[in-house]
Amino acid sequence: MKKNMTKLTAILGAGVMALSLAACGSAGTTSATSAAASSQSSAAAASASSAAAGSGKVYKVGIVQYVDDASLNQIEQNIETELDALGEKNGVTFDYADYTKNGQADGTVLNQIAADLIADEVDIIIPIATPTAQIMQTATEENQIPVVFAAVSDPVGAKLVESMDAPGANITGTSDALNTEAIMNLIFAQNPDAKKIGLLYSKSEDASTAAIENATAYLDEKGIEYVEKTGTTNDEVSAAADALIAEGVDAIFTPTDNTIMTAELAIYEKIAEAGIPHYAGADSFALNGAFCGYGVDYANLGVATADLAADILLNGKSPAEEPVQTFDNGIATVNTDIASALGLDIEEIKTAFEPYCTQVLETVTAKEFE
């Protein structure tokens, strides 16, 4: 409540200041200095109280959120609770409350947030999402403040790290890239006797290419036959699905592919009628009639990000050598309508999936999330 009040006064202060500037140029300077003085004293008070609370060292952790978004906020919350827990365990304080900023998807403010955090001499910066991470990367090029990003789908493609295993600079973090192997594991957990896997995807999406390469490598290694069918329009996807059904595959795999996603409502019935379970790389597929959608558990990702940051701060690990983390256990969303159409028992599926997921959720076919 008290924090809200200070925020409110600060907003009013900034508003008044801005207005007085707009109305008359010279009045701004005096109000700016007085506001500056008052905030300095309040900041000093805040840091004094936090220093008194923790017996050990105080680490300043800057968290930069890209925009208010359900998944991204879930990550932020989990980073914060995990930092609190780790601080208590190790007898140190992670002070993030004063250094948590939200860019509100406004790229113009992100540079200034970076400058602000650097002026505060934070010990580590945790940017959430790719654009935020890129700007923090540029801002820390000179001073080499460690950066631990969260939820960057393609850290190598975004040139944040040199490679996933050896980032090579002051930056590492966690990726929400889909782990293809994890979905493959689900397929064989449900049907250990699967002999032939259909791969349904579109050629126009970059994200699918890497996932399909991983899938074929996995299947080659296991010595399992697979059939690839692609489509770029709804009609082509439908035809590709027909072809896979005609091939008599035991299961169909689709990566996080938006083209197939759009066509999913058109193809799910015939796939289910043919008795083939369709596994895909996002929970939204399950909602639109795929048997199982698999996505990254953002809560888990937030915790891992905080662990990584704490490891760097407390144990002196170098971000250059800490591999970027990906996750092979996410949340599986199973469509119960389709499960019963395929003649599968939902409880059995849950037990089969359990070792590979943090959570198994149930859904029924619908056009959109409620």
Binding site: A14, G107, Q112
Partner: protein, 313 residues
């Protein structure tokens, strides 16, 4: 320390970069009296084109190609309103919407493009001198040089015959038409010129951030308008064009300094947009409001007089 040199440097650097967008609006909004809402998209277009060419290894050429891209975008906006009778606001919105796809296409249908590791104008300029002080001040020096050139070009251009007819178009289209100048032509040239500046700004911010993102330009038009209007409060009564141009740049830097102070005060960024909107609304409404208040006072004074006269009778 409450405000460090680093914070002021960043505020001035990006204040100068964004002042190019404010200058673009100065030409389209203040001089031509046209609301060009394609700014958001055009800015991202400059950033995308700049990023692609920079990755190709030509950071300086990137600035010029981004300006060329801005000119194309401005040309489409202008043709829609001058030749095909689309309302100017609508023309801007249409172009802005279309540019989203174009921008994605420029970036190879990916929403984000990183130019980390490629040479940028900033890194090239920094490499001129190995000293540490130069390293930290060179971006600001480079931006001051670029802005000086841009200010010179704008000032010169607005003084030419064509520039003068563009200024006249904003003041009175009928008058321009009566002098047998085609206002459609002057609007087209003006918008192309303005959008070239927006494109340049986008390319510079791309190289400054070392990345290009499809959502970069969201809300740019309000931010630039706020900067423009803060700046214009300095030069309201001035007739000097050079001072008018410079005040726009000062406005943009001031806006960024306000944001810095707000961030230092831990003002939530959620509030920034509303504050910008209020600045713009109040500043634009102020003269009209002043007149309304004056009129109201006059009325009351007149009523009082009437009453007292009535009392005497």
């Amino acid at each position: 320390m409450f405000i460090t040199t680093g914070i002021i440097q960043t505020a001035l650097e990006i204040g100068l970069i964004y002042s190019l967008v404010a200058l673009s609006l100065f030409i389209s909004f203040s001089i031509l009296d046209i609301c060009d809402l394609s700014t958001d998209g055009c800015y991202t277009l400059g950033c995308a084109v700049g990023a692609v060419v920079t990755i190709g290894g030509h950071p300086i050429l990137a600035l010029f190609l981004a300006m060329a891209a801005g000119i194309c975008s401005g040309f489409v906006t202008a043709i829609l309103q001058t030749r095909f009778g689309v309302q100017s606001i609508l023309a801007g919105i249409i172009v802005n919407t279309g540019l989203y796809t174009v921008n994605l296409a420029v970036m190879g249908f990916s929403s984000n493009l990183s130019i980390f590791g490629s040479d940028t104008v900033f890194s090239l300029f920094k490499a001129l001198n190995p000293s540490k002080a130069w390293g930290s001040w060179s971006p600001l020096v480079l931006m001051i040089i670029i802005l000086a050139i841009v200010v010179f070009v704008i000032h010169w251009f607005l003084g030419t015959r064509l520039g003068l007819s563009i200024r006249a178009t904003g003041d009175s289209r009928a008058m321009v038409r009566a002098s047998s100048i085609n206002p459609g032509f002057t609007i087209t040239v003006g918008l192309c010129f303005a959008n070239a500046l927006t494109g340049l700004s986008g390319a510079l911010i791309g190289q400054f951030n070392k990345s290009s993102d499809i959502n970069l330009g969201t809300g740019m038009v309000t931010i630039a308008l706020a900067s423009l209007i803060i700046g214009e409060t300095f030069s309201k009564k001035s007739q000097n064009m050079l001072w008018k141009i410079l005040s726009v740049i000062i406005g943009s830097c001031l806006y960024r300094l306000i944001v810095s102070v707000a961030l230092r005060l831990n003002v939530p960024t959620e509030a920034f947009k509303l504050v910008s909107a209020i600045i713009v609304a109040v500043a634009i409404a102020a003269p009209q409001a002043r007149e309304l208040i004056l009129l109201h006072r006059q009325k009351r004074a007149a009523m009082k007089e009437n009453l007292s006269e009535g009392g005497e009778r």
